[in-house]
Amino acid sequence: MNEPHLHARILSRPELMAPMRAMLCELASRVGLNETECGHIALAIDEALTNIIRHGYKNDPDSHIWISVWELQNPTGLRIQMDDLAPNVELKKLKGRELDDIRPGGLGVHLIYSLMDSVHFSRRTEGGMRLVVEKFHAHAAANSYANVKHNSQV
């Protein structure tokens, strides 16, 4: 895979989520994604970081999260990868309540799947979890589905 346009390590603190959102929204709009698409990316990343901080690191403020961002072409979009070093869990445990079951909490993972065009959770051999998500320009995604596969193998 090519080098990411941006590769950041942040401390596992809720206060850093707004700056990450702002950065990603700006990146998304620069690659031509619209307001709503930018908002969706922001929310998905927010939910993923919240889960890492809360479930992965049990709210320890001094752990690390790595975020990498790639601009994608054909179709146009963003790929965002989030890595942590928290004790990793079985992938089948990564799910919340059904959306029809209205309770506080348990929405994050569903939101990530609803918001993004590609969601890939994995356990890292070094320990910790990896989440890779992709979002494409609505127009681009509709017109070049065949390219998605190709692109994600670059």
């Binding site: 603190r13 809720p14 206060e15 989520m17 707004a18 959102r21 307001e35 709503t36 908002g39 969706h40 922001a42 929310l43 927010d46 939910e47 919240t50 901080i53 809360r54 959306l99 029809d100 209205i102 309770r103 506080p104 909490g105 929405l107 994050g108 569903h110 939101l111 609803s114 918001l115």
Partner: protein, 115 residues
């Protein structure tokens, strides 16, 4: 980070209840402040509780969870719970979480006071 960035939540009293008016993104770092204000307001057992989201450009699932929690208390205590003035972005978040029909959502404060 510093506490300088706690979510500001204005509280206004109306004839039959309370309007909460949070200002800023309601995310993991800031939803606890909204939760505190909602709990306080609910303790007073108002007939009506309005959350005016006019100055909330963004909300994540911790914000939604806070609202759902309040909704459940209001149901138990027969309090009218109304949210109003959703930005397109916040509305879209509620839609994706399939919550637009669960909450009483109205366009503006005027309607919220009458609803």
């Amino acid at each position: 980070m510093s506490g300088a960035t706690e979510l500001v939540v204005n509280v206004e009293t109306i004839s039959d209840g309370v309007i909460l008016h949070p200002k800023g993104d309601v995310d993991m770092a800031r939803s606890p402040a909204l939760r505190t204000k909602l709990t306080e307001a609910l303790k007073g057992k108002p007939a009506r509780l309005v959350v005016d989201l006019v100055d909330v450009p963004y909300m994540d699932s911790s914000g939604l969870a806070t609202l759902i929690e309040a909704l459940q208390t209001t149901r138990k205590n027969k309090i009218k719970f109304i949210v109003c003035n959703l930005s397109p972005r916040v509305r879209s978040i509620l839609e994706i979480a399939r919550l637009t029909t669960v909450f009483t959502v109205v366009a503006n404060r005027e309607q919220a006071i009458k609803a």
